[in-house]
């Protein structure tokens, strides 16, 4: 099959989104919009202590409250559910299982300790306030260092030394690399916890039909199929009697990839009560209990030649996993960081060691580019190498980057790179920035007492990655199905396992189908979310897979159906298939528009009277395509960030932000840009504002949006984007861009901050977030506490 789309038209255009009419008129169905007859409401009472043994729980007063239907303690819930277990046959992984509602021990502030089901959320909260719990306090473990310390309190019996997993992997001859080094450049970073915080929190509505025994769970999730099979086991429900659906989803960012203990409790409660129960997490619960990400400490040691060429790299990572494992297992995060860290650079030798440590915090979860710290530390290391070797940040990258000419080649982590254009995006970026002018401007500003900073970064994004890549990480790559149906009236319905929550798949997949099949954009509907309707996939929407994988599935599916339509039409029109074309839902003979047959007519014949259709043709108007990704691939980008530091207040203003990105063929540039800009906003917020902070005693400090600071419009810059659309010879030349902004922006930003600090002779950032207080400390204006 030839590369590119069969017909070019909508693909590549800034097509209006299908989703917009719904969301702009407020007619979507987000989880809290679901109202069913007799629906009951859930409220979880949550632990107020970080670590403790429950010595007593008294729910009798709560049960007496008028309007309360049921109160579940941990024991009540455990009687009807299995403990959640995410254990996998991964050597050395200590993955403790745990109950939906804490039974004996609580291990973080916010852990569910009781569930109240009542006629309204108001009443459920009234009742929860009457529950009395006593705890025997245990020492909380609030950092990886504390968790690994000799004699540290153990969170779990089956996690010895609080070590969830530890491993060391060696690639190439690391000793030789360091033996040859002219310089050894070291760097460390202690990244803080920050969180996904989709504007719609978690939640679900479970309905149990007592007659048929069917259970339906409508959830705010990124993966309905995975949620279904995980929950079915834990709530002891036959999976054929269990349907999971999702409609509008108000953002996920990785958080909604896992199944959670609250999902288990809500489904079990619906079964136990026999009806519909709803749980919508409020923002306070969300901030405290939904989990957060990015808490990693890394140290890097690079062996480099005098000219800045990388010889070898030693990396140690400690990952603060929080208390309870979720999906995917923490080894996947470590595997992602390890595998991706060499990035688009030539690296002859590499050693990576990690410790994943259990602490008394909410779970460590996926957040948009869960591996992001690899880019952050690597790109900052490149700048430090440049500084050490006396060359520019541009030069150090140019000397080490893998260019198209070098490919195919293998990363030291055994991943083949092919069609990777990180170097080309960087080249383009450098052409667009006059680095000398930047330096002159900085100097002039300094003369006026102002402090400017400039930083760059480049990276590759496994979107979707390759088979080899995911094998190295230790996670399935998986093919992607899509079922496409030409309806009896010639319109098209496509069923995807994607569960889009902002990624515009209804639009982009329709664009592809419209072009491939020659049907109108408005004549296509994309069905997602419902496990009764959509084909199975473990992965749903995550990992920026859809641009390649879901696109490939609809392209192959459309092409198969197109072939069937053309064959039938060739009989009807008495013309060769090669002479036929489809446009606007009509098959016609090229150059003879009078000779035509509408798809509707063919479809009606196929559905109603297939035996009367031309003999030997395939009259099945529905087809399930499975796309293997054609080996997959990477997208790539380079960022440049200009900042000004207010040396009196420590506030950092981003003056300009430039992106050169290459995600291959753009299906809809407006969608690509939205993902890139939204991703950068999240990365900037994470570095400067957001902090899922804990006090030493394990209390959570950012439990409202007054304290967890989401970036708002004035905090963010206007972002300039340049696209390079490198087209491979694959059928689907589109790569994902969902996560890259969040991955790379922190690196460019921190490099800019380090650049500013260096100009006034100060040390680099080693801890995030870079708050105004931290900035003044780094500048030496105030003392660190």
């Amino acid at each position: 099959m030839a590369g590119g789309s069969a017909i070019s038209g909508l693909v590549g255009a800034r097509v209006h989104r299908k989703e917009d009419r719904t969301i702009l008129t407020g007619t979507g169905r987000y989880i809290d919009d679901v109202q069913e007859r007799g629906m009951l409401h859930c409220h979880f009472l949550r632990s107020t202590v970080a670590h403790g043994r429950i010595t007593s729980i008294d729910v009798s007063a709560a049960r007496e409250v008028e309007g309360v239907v049921r109160v579940f303690t941990g024991a009540d819930m455990s009687a009807i559910t299995e403990d959640l277990s995410f254990a996998q046959p991964i050597p050395g992984l200590n993955s403790p299982s745990y109950p939906a509602i804490a039974r004996d021990v609580v291990r973080f502030v916010g852990e569910p300790v009781a569930l109240v089901v009542a006629e309204s959320r108001y009443i459920a909260e009234d009742a929860a306030a009457l529950i009395e719990i006593e705890y025997d306090l245990l020492e909380p473990v609030m950092s990886t260092a504390a968790g690994l310390a000799e004699g540290a309190t153990q969170l779990f019996d089956d996690v010895p030394g609080n070590v969830v997993h530890t491993d060391e992997q060696l690639f190439g001859d690391i000793e030789a690399a360091f033996a040859q080094a002219d310089h050894v450049v070291t760097q460390s970073l202690d990244q803080h916890r920050w969180a996904c915080n989709p504007m719609e929190t978690r939640g679900g509505v479970a309905t149990y039909e007592t007659g048929s025994g069917q259970l339906t769970y409508e959830a705010s999730t990124q993966t309905t199929h995975t949620l279904r099979f995980l929950l079915a086991g834990w709530i002891r429900h036959p999976i054929h009697q269990f349907r999971v659906t999702a409609n509008n989803i108000g953002g996920g960012f990785g958080l909604k990839f896992s199944a959670y203990r609250e999902d288990v409790a809500v489904c079990a409660a619906a079964k136990a009560i026999g009806g519909t129960v709803k749980w919508v997490e409020d923002r306070n619960e969300h901030l405290v209990a939904a989990g957060a990400a990015r808490e990693e400490q890394l140290t890097l040691e690079a062996a480099v030649k005098a000219d800045g060429t990388l010889l070898g790299l030693r990396v140690t990572m400690k990952l603060d996993a929080g208390a309870y494992p979720i999906n995917p297992p923490a080894t996947v995060y470590a595997g992602l960081v390890r595998t991706t860290l060499p990035g688009p650079y030539k690296l002859p030798a590499y050693q990576f060691r990690h410790h994943i440590v259990a602490t008394n915090k909410a779970s460590y979860i996926s957040l948009r580019g869960p591996w992001a710290v690899e880019t952050l530390v690597r790109e900052r290391l490149m700048d430090k190498i440049a500084h050490t070797c006396g060359i520019s940040p541009v030069e150090v990258r140019n000397r080490n980057l893998i260019t198209l000419d070098d490919q195919p080649t293998k990363m030291i982590t055994n991943v083949t790179l092919e069609n990777v254009t990180a170097a080309e995006t960087f080249q383009k970026l450098v052409e667009m920035v006059d680095l000398d002018a930047v330096r002159r401007e900085q100097e002039a500003a300094r003369a006026e007492g102002r402090l400017l900073g400039f930083g760059v970064g480049t990276f590759i994004e496994p979107a979707p990655g390759t088979q080899e890549f995911w094998a190295a990480v230790g996670f399935p790559f998986g093919s992607e199905p899509c079922r496409i149906r030409i309806e009896i009236d010639g319109k098209v319905t496509a069923f995807t396992p994607q569960t889009p929550h902002g990624q515009s798949h209804e639009t982009t997949l329709s664009q592809l189908i419209a072009d491939e099949l020659g049907v109108g954009f408005d004549d296509i509907r994309i069905v997602y979310g419902d496990t009764d309707a959509t084909p199975f996939s473990m992965l749903g929407t995550g990992g920026s897979r859809a641009a390649t994988m879901a696109s490939g599935a609809v392209v192959y599916g459309s092409r198969e159906l197109r072939k069937r339509l053309l064959e039938i039409a060739s009989h009807i029109l008495e013309a060769s298939v090669d002479d036929l074309d489809i446009a606007d839902g009509v098959v016609s003979v090229k150059g003879a528009p009078g000779a035509s047959v509408p798809i509707a007519q063919i479809a009606m014949g196929c559905w109603l009277a297939p035996e009367q259709m031309p003999p030997g043709t395939n009259t099945e108007m529905e087809f399930v395509a499975n796309y293997d990704g054609e080996g997959g691939g990477f997208s790539q980008a380079s960022h440049a960030c200009w900042i000004e530091v207010d040396q009196q207040t420590g506030k950092i203003e981003i003056k300009r932000f430039l992106v050169v990105e290459d995600c291959g063929k753009m299906i809809n540039p407006a969608v690509v840009e939205g993902q890139v800009i939204g991703g950068i906003a999240m990365g900037v917020g994470g570095m400067l504002l957001e902090h899922s902070a804990y006090a030493d005693d394990g209390q959570y400090l950012a439990a409202t949006f007054m304290d967890y600071l989401m970036p708002s419009a004035p905090e963010l810059p206007e972002i300039e984007i340049e696209h390079l659309e490198f087209e491979s010879d694959k059928v689907v030349g589109s790569r994902g861009v969902g996560e890259g902004g969040t991955v790379l922006a922190p690196a460019a930003l921190l490099n800019a901050i380090d650049d500013a600090l260096a100009q006034v002779g100060r040390e680099r950032v080693t801890e995030t977030p870079v708050t105004p207080t931290r900035m003044l400390e780094l500048l030496g204006v105030i003392e660190k506490e």
């Binding site: 306070n284 905090e715 506490e785």
Partner: protein, 291 residues
């Protein structure tokens, strides 16, 4: 995050409202004005009053007037109304400068001038303005009306001199004369956030020298702090860099703010000095223009 059970009354007159506040009750009584602080606290169940007295129907508490050299702003005047008021802008430029720094438009459309002052958040703008200008806070209770000077009004962390059965009815400040300028400077983590520290300054000039300087600082103590030493340092002097430094140093020396997630004590202390310099310089520049 749903409000707890409470009783609710919405009196039509101030008399009735005071009566409702004084009536014996089995729990806390809370006045509800704009609700922009109180309702979030109810939703979080951090406030669990037995009775809510909604004063939004009290016309006596509305209106902005300037009379006999005094600007009076009714407690129930929405922050947004005061922000857009020409009377406020000319009679009390400091208030005009400060209000837009409160939250966001939709918050100010509902939040009231009196509510912010009665709430007495140490980081809030309006209590700081009140402290800076020695505002007179007019309150009515069962015993009638009394006027509380700002210096006596803010008694501590989110606490005021108002009795439980008293309602703040109006805020009164002296209208500015000629050669007077004002500025409000603050540093917040984000646009619209409560400030980590803020400074209200009003300067009256006599020729080139400072006839009167008024300075108050937010976010550095349990209540707004009047920077009297800085004010004294400025009096009778010409505003230049060295005198600004002197004033700022004098003010900051006495501060011992506390740390939180958003800013350390050292940060707040440092920034208070920075903001004093900025705010006083801006106020003096404006005063010069207004000569």
């Amino acid at each position: 995050m749903k409000p707890p059970v409470f009783d609710y009354v919405s009196p039509a007159t101030l008399e009735e409202a005071i009566q409702a506040l004084s009536a014996p009750d089995d729990g806390d009584v809370k006045v509800l004005a704009g609700g922009q602080s109180l309702v979030p606290l109810l939703n979080l169940r951090l406030s669990q009053p037995g009775l809510i007295v909604d004063i939004n129907g009290l016309d006596e508490l509305t209106g902005i007037t300037e009379e006999a050299g005094y600007l009076t702003v009714g407690a129930l005047v929405r922050q947004r109304e005061a922000e857009l008021s020409d009377v406020v802008r000319t009679a009390c430029p400091l208030l005009h400068e400060a209000i837009p720094l409160i939250g966001h438009t939709a918050i100010r459309n509902r939040g009231t001038v009196g509510g912010s002052i009665a709430h007495a958040d140490p980081a809030a703008e309006l209590p700081t303005v009140a402290a800076c200008l020695d505002a007179e806070l007019v309150a009515r209770g069962p015993g009638g009306e009394r006027t509380i000077p700002a210096a006596d009004f803010f008694t501590g962390f989110f606490t005021t001199a108002l009795a439980e059965d008293e309602i703040l009815t109006a805020v009164r400040v002296r209208s500015v004369g000629p050669a007077t300028g004002a500025a409000y400077e603050e540093v917040a983590r984000r646009h619209g956030d409560f400030a980590m520290a803020g400074v209200a300054a009003q300067v009256r000039l006599d020729g080139d020298t400072v006839a009167e300087a008024r300075i108050a600082i937010s976010g550095v103590d349990l209540a707004p702090v009047r920077a009297t030493k800085a004010e004294a340092a400025l009096a009778g002097r010409t505003v230049d860099d060295s005198i600004l430094d002197e004033a700022a140093d004098a003010a900051v020396a006495d501060l011992s703010p506390s740390s939180d997630l958003h800013g350390s004590a050292a940060y707040r202390k440092h920034v208070a000095g920075v903001l004093i310099r900025k705010a006083v310089a801006a106020a003096a520049a404006r005063a010069r223009e207004a000569r």
